[in-house]
């Protein structure tokens, strides 16, 4: 059940009024939990077993940690934390990386001339597993660190893990932000509902009118890159950089909009990332919930930047590579992460020079970051390393055949980029004018009603 489909509209038309009617009663959270599980079961009822198991285990682990704290047995707390982490990573490892691991082991066995192949698990990746497992892990780790109190109510905890607006593609919420919101009776105003609608319509437009449109050209080129030449490959990569942004940020906007209408404030997950002036800045604007998760639970525990330059770069590299692997079980994602790590090193060095800091215009920095990030998207999008390599080499060595890239797609991207540019400039006040805001919403609605693509594309990040 995707947000931009009619079944979701019907689902929400049942869940939301009931939620409003129950909001001051003790049935509010059980209703929300039931709705969230129903939402998840629509993808596959079998997935429910997994999420309930993961939720139960982490709830129990924190309960045992709390008991160990009272008994002043720190080593037992560490043991329980390890159980949680190992369990969660094992689930991820099995369902998400099982095929990847067996494929690579089989390659190794074959290279060693061992005539045996490990059978592939052939398991379907449960939707959203990467998101809710990371969210659940953050709770157990934060409790261990003493950053949060234990959630005693299982219903509240389960709702925290499975809240349907953010269940299948984030944002990865922290317990400190979401659990307190589940505790109090929601007091949302008319403004929350209108804000929610505003967020939803923008997200819907980004997904249906923009992301799904760009996908048509990108899919055509990336399906057979050897048949296209440099201009088409460059444009397809450029379009993909915007497609993935519109797709993912569009989903998040819809998720935040739906949650806002129910009185929940989910964290901002995208903040105009293509206006970043450095890669560090980019990662503070792109998939913020994930990048902050990796910073707090991988980079900093590894030592962060506290143990010298070499260790800083080592920690950065490991964090980015793991982040790449989180996105998908393929070497292309690992390479994507590694290239980003190298980019981070470079921008750190550049940004430490006074020339780069003071003399290079902001727009040039933005352009450099954008070009670099777009280049890395080749590895993210390509089906295989071989395809990625084909694309990279053909960009620099093939001819200049007509790319036949729709001008309308480019015009729409330019319009969005211009909006974002103005938004962060001193002329942002122009965009806040009432006629501009109203006009944009009316235009979006009409564009969607008249011109939206008729085919439904799934969200890119659902596959993670």
């Amino acid at each position: 059940m995707l947000f931009h489909t009619w079944p979701f509209v019907l689902f929400f038309l049942v869940v939301y009024p009931t939620y409003l009617a129950l909001k001051r009663t003790r049935f509010r959270l059980p209703w929300l939990l039931a709705a969230s599980y129903f939402f998840y079961a629509c993808f596959s009822p079998l997935y429910l077993i997994l999420i309930i198991y993961s939720t139960l285990l982490d709830y129990a682990v924190v309960a045992r940690m709390a008991k160990s704290s009272r008994q002043r047995r720190r080593s037992r707390r560490k043991m329980w934390l390890s159980i949680s982490i190992v369990n969660n990573l094992a689930l991820l490892g099995f369902f998400k990386y099982g095929g990847f691991i067996t494929d690579n082991l089989n390659v190794l066995l074959s290279s060693l001339a061992i005539p045996y192949a490990i059978p592939a698990p052939g398991i379907l990746l449960p939707v959203g597993i990467s998101f809710y497992i990371f969210q659940s892990m953050s709770y157990t780790i934060d409790y261990y660190r003493g950053n949060i109190e234990r959630e005693k109510s299982f219903i509240k905890y389960a709702t925290f893990v499975s809240l349907f607006p953010r269940l299948v593609a984030g944002p990865i919420e922290r317990a400190q932000n979401l659990l307190p919101q589940l505790h109090k009776t929601p007091r949302f105003s008319k403004q929350d509902i209108t804000d929610g609608l505003s967020l939803f319509i923008v997200g819907f437009f980004k997904k249906v009118a923009l992301a799904d449109y760009l996908a048509l050209y990108v899919d055509k080129v990336y399906a057979a890159p050897e048949q296209f030449q440099s201009p088409a490959l460059i444009l397809a990569t450029f379009l993909f950089s915007w497609q993935i942004y519109f797709d993912f940020s569009g989903y998040t906007d819809m998720a935040r909009g739906v949650a806002r209408m129910m009185g929940f404030r989910l964290m901002l997950n995208f903040n105009n990332p293509y206006l970043a002036t450095g890669l560090g800045d980019f990662w503070s604007r792109w998939h913020i919930s994930l990048s902050s998760w990796f910073k707090d639970y991988v980079y900093i525990p590894l030592g962060g930047n506290r143990k010298g330059v070499f260790n800083t770069y080592r920690n950065m590299f490991l964090t980015m590579v793991i982040s790449g692997l989180w996105h998908g079980a393929a070497w292309t994602f690992v390479i994507w992460g590694a290239v980003h790590a190298l980019g981070r090193f470079l921008t750190r060095e550049l940004e430490s020079t006074s020339f780069y800091k003071e003399k290079v215009p902001k727009i040039v920095k933005q352009l450099l970051v954008f070009v670099f990030v777009t280049f890395t998207w080749i590895f993210f999008r390509a089906e295989t390393i071989s395809d990625a390599w084909t694309i990279v080499t053909r960009i620099f060595s093939s001819g200049l055949a007509n790319p036949y890239c729709p001008l309308l797609a480019l015009a729409l991207i330019f319009a969005v980029w211009l909006y974002q540019f103005f938004y962060e400039s001193t002329f942002g006040w122009v965009l806040e004018a009432r006629p501009v805001r109203i006009g944009i919403v009316i235009l979006m609605i009409f564009y969607l009603a008249i011109f939206a693509p008729s085919s439904e594309q799934a969200f890119i990040y659902l596959q993670f």
Binding site: D195, S249, D253, P406, Y423
Partner: protein, 386 residues
Amino acid sequence: MQKKGILDARRSRKSRIKKVPFGSNCVRLSGYEWLLVGIVVSALFCFGPALWERLEKFEPQPDYRLPSELSNDYWLFNRYCRWACSRYETLVIGDSVIRGDYVDKNNTLSHYLNEIVGRNQFANMGVDGVHPVALAGLLRYYGRDISAKNVILHLNPLWMASPRLDLQIEKEYHFHHPRLAPQFIPNIPCYKDSYSRRISAVVQRYVAFLSWASHLRITYFESLDLPTWTLEHPYNNPFKAITLELPTYEKNNQNEPISWAEKGIAKRDFQWVEPGTSLQWSFFQRSIEILRARGNTVFVLVGPFNEHMLKPKSIDTYRKLKSEIEAWLQRNNVPYYVPPALPSEFYSDAGHPLSEGYAMLAKQLFENEFFRSNILYSSLHLPIRE
């Protein structure tokens, strides 16, 4: 002390709920602004299509018929209905047999009927591919303006010629005009579209703006949505494609008008579905009810099917099917005509006559007593050219 502890805990929780920024843009409307948007959008949804009709030329010439390429344009069908109802006394409704897929517009059944009566009395409302299940939907949702008219409703028996054509197979089958068929109840076994697309089809029936948007896509963007169209025409201006003139497609519209024997089509054994269990026949009955409920005089024309193409066993079953249909029409006081099969050389395939076939059929109809009394004499009292 206990109360203080609870208060501290609450304060502590409250302070932990961080302020979350709205978003990374300022498309943020207040309640009043959303109301304004709602009013503007509603006004455009309500009046937009009507305004469009004033801008887009639609001046059908005599013997106009909906182009095959626009057969999925139900908003245009609705517009054509309104136009035809204001100018013609009798609408001839059916599928491509009525439309005349193997002849040009001057050799269709309605044309020959007009020729016999000496005036433009009959409008060609044939829609390509509209089987009875889809026809019921077309009349119910897009033919609301057909009221207090004479209607010749054609039944093409070919739609009952096999369980697949009768839409009764379990395996997925991509039939014509799925958006006109019932989306949920009754269940059509071979219709396996997603719930989202089905709900979208239902919504489009009741929101004229959405079927108008579909009209734009079909008429000006080659039945493609805008993004896909721009992939085919990457450097074209989409606004220039909207010429405000409806294409006629007449020049490239014709299938080759040669007989089935010349085409080398062999005789066949059809797996006729009995009327008692036929989905197509039950929906044809609904079409009759829908039209009658709107005060129309309905005259049913059955076939004529190309019986020369049937093997002997199939002919017997087909004749039994015809008599069951006749019996139902008689029981329900529906005036009808089941013409005999035309000469073999007058057919292009199993159901489509050639121009000589339509001319003969028109003459046969004109000589039919029920046709004369229900259609000809009930129309304007003008002399009929014999």
